[in-house]
C-alpha cells in the first residue's frame, strides 16, 4: 500500500454514529424507568401513616394519664412489628397559668427519623 486508503471511512463513521446514538438512547430509557419506580417507592418508603398513627396514639395515652405500661406496649410493638425505635415522654409544664404536658415523641425506622415536641 503506497498510500493509506481513506475511502470507506464514511462507512465506519456511520457505524460509530449509529452505535453512539443507540447507546445514548439506552441511557435515556434507563433513566425513564427509574423515574416511575422511585415515585411510588418514595411514597412507600416514607412512614407517613405510621408516624401519624403513633402521634394520635401517644396523644391519647398522654391525655389519659401517661401510663408507663402503655408506653412499654407501644415501644415493644413498634420494634417487633414495624422495625421502628419509638420513645416518648411527657413532662408537665406551666405556661401562662395553664398546665400543659410537654410531650416529645421520637421515631426512627432506620431510614427516617422523626422528632416532635408538643404541648398537650
Amino acid at each position: 500500500m503506497e498510500r493509506l486508503d481513506d475511502e470507506g471511512q464514511w462507512i465506519v463513521m456511520m457505524g460509530f454514529i449509529v452505535a453512539v446514538s443507540i447507546f445514548f438512547l439506552a441511557l435515556v430509557i434507563n433513566q425513564a424507568t427509574l423515574v416511575g419506580q422511585t415515585t411510588a417507592e418514595g411514597v412507600l418508603e416514607f412512614p407517613k401513616s405510621e408516624i401519624r398513627d403513633l402521634q394520635s396514639e401517644v396523644y391519647g395515652v398522654v391525655e389519659a394519664g401517661n401510663s408507663a405500661t402503655l408506653r412499654e406496649d407501644i415501644r415493644a410493638l413498634e420494634l417487633a412489628r414495624n422495625n421502628a425505635l419509638v420513645n416518648y415522654s411527657a413532662v408537665p409544664e406551666i405556661k401562662s397559668g395553664t398546665t400543659y404536658n410537654k410531650t416529645t415523641i421520637h421515631f426512627n425506622n432506620g431510614v427516617t427519623a422523626y422528632d416532635e415536641t408538643v404541648y398537650l
Partner: protein, 170 residues
C-alpha cells in the same frame, strides 16, 4: 473480474457492522424488562387506601363516642370488622365494587413481655396473583377482649395492641 481491489471496503464494512452489533448487544443486555409490578405503583395505591380505611375506622363519628375499631377489638368482633373493613375498602364511586381481599391479625404483648401475633381474620381466598401490602394501626383497649375466639394469653389490663391487615388484589 474477481480481484482483490477494494478489500478495504469490505473490511471497513465488517468493522462498522461489528461495532454496531456489539453496541446493540451490550445495550439490549443491560436494559431490563419492565413490568407494572416492578414500579410498585399498585402497591402504593393499596397501602394508601388501606391506611385510609384504618384511619376512618379509628375515628369516632361523634364526639366522645368510642370508635368502631376499638369496639371491634374490645369485643373481638371479627364478623362486623370484616364487613365494615371490606365495604370501606371496596367501595367505588361508580360501577360495581372492587374485589380486594384482606386478612387481619393482632399483635399484643404477653405477660412475659414478648410480642405475640394472633390471627384475627383469615381470608377465604389466600391465593392471589399480585403482591400483598401490610397496613398497621395501634389501638388502646381497656382490658382483655371479651368475645368468642379471644386468645387466652391476653393480659387483663389496659394495653395497646397493633392490628395488622394484609391487603391484596384477587
Amino acid at each position: 473480474m474477481v480481484d482483490d481491489d477494494a478489500q478495504l471496503y469490505t473490511m471497513e464494512g465488517i468493522a462498522a457492522a461489528f461495532v454496531i452489533l456489539a453496541t446493540v448487544y451490550l445495550v439490549a443486555g443491560t436494559t431490563s424488562i419492565y413490568t407494572p409490578g416492578d414500579s410498585h405503583i399498585t402497591d402504593m395505591q393499596l397501602e394508601v387506601l388501606g391506611n385510609d380505611v384504618l384511619l376512618v375506622m379509628d375515628t369516632p363519628t361523634e364526639e366522645g363516642e368510642e370508635n368502631n375499631l376499638t369496639r371491634y377489638l374490645r369485643t373481638w368482633n371479627t364478623t362486623d370488622f370484616r364487613n365494615e373493613f371490606g365495604s370501606l375498602l371496596n367501595d367505588r364511586t361508580a360501577g360495581t365494587d372492587d374485589t380486594l381481599q384482606f386478612a387481619a391479625s393482632v399483635s399484643y404483648r404477653k405477660a412475659d413481655g414478648t410480642v405475640k401475633n394472633e390471627n384475627f381474620i383469615s381470608s377465604e381466598r389466600p391465593t392471589g396473583y399480585e403482591q400483598a401490602v401490610r397496613v398497621t394501626r395501634l389501638i388502646t383497649i381497656p382490658g382483655k377482649p371479651t368475645g368468642v375466639g379471644t386468645p387466652v394469653d391476653f393480659r387483663n389490663v389496659p394495653q395497646v395492641v397493633m392490628l395488622e391487615v394484609l391487603i391484596w388484589r384477587d
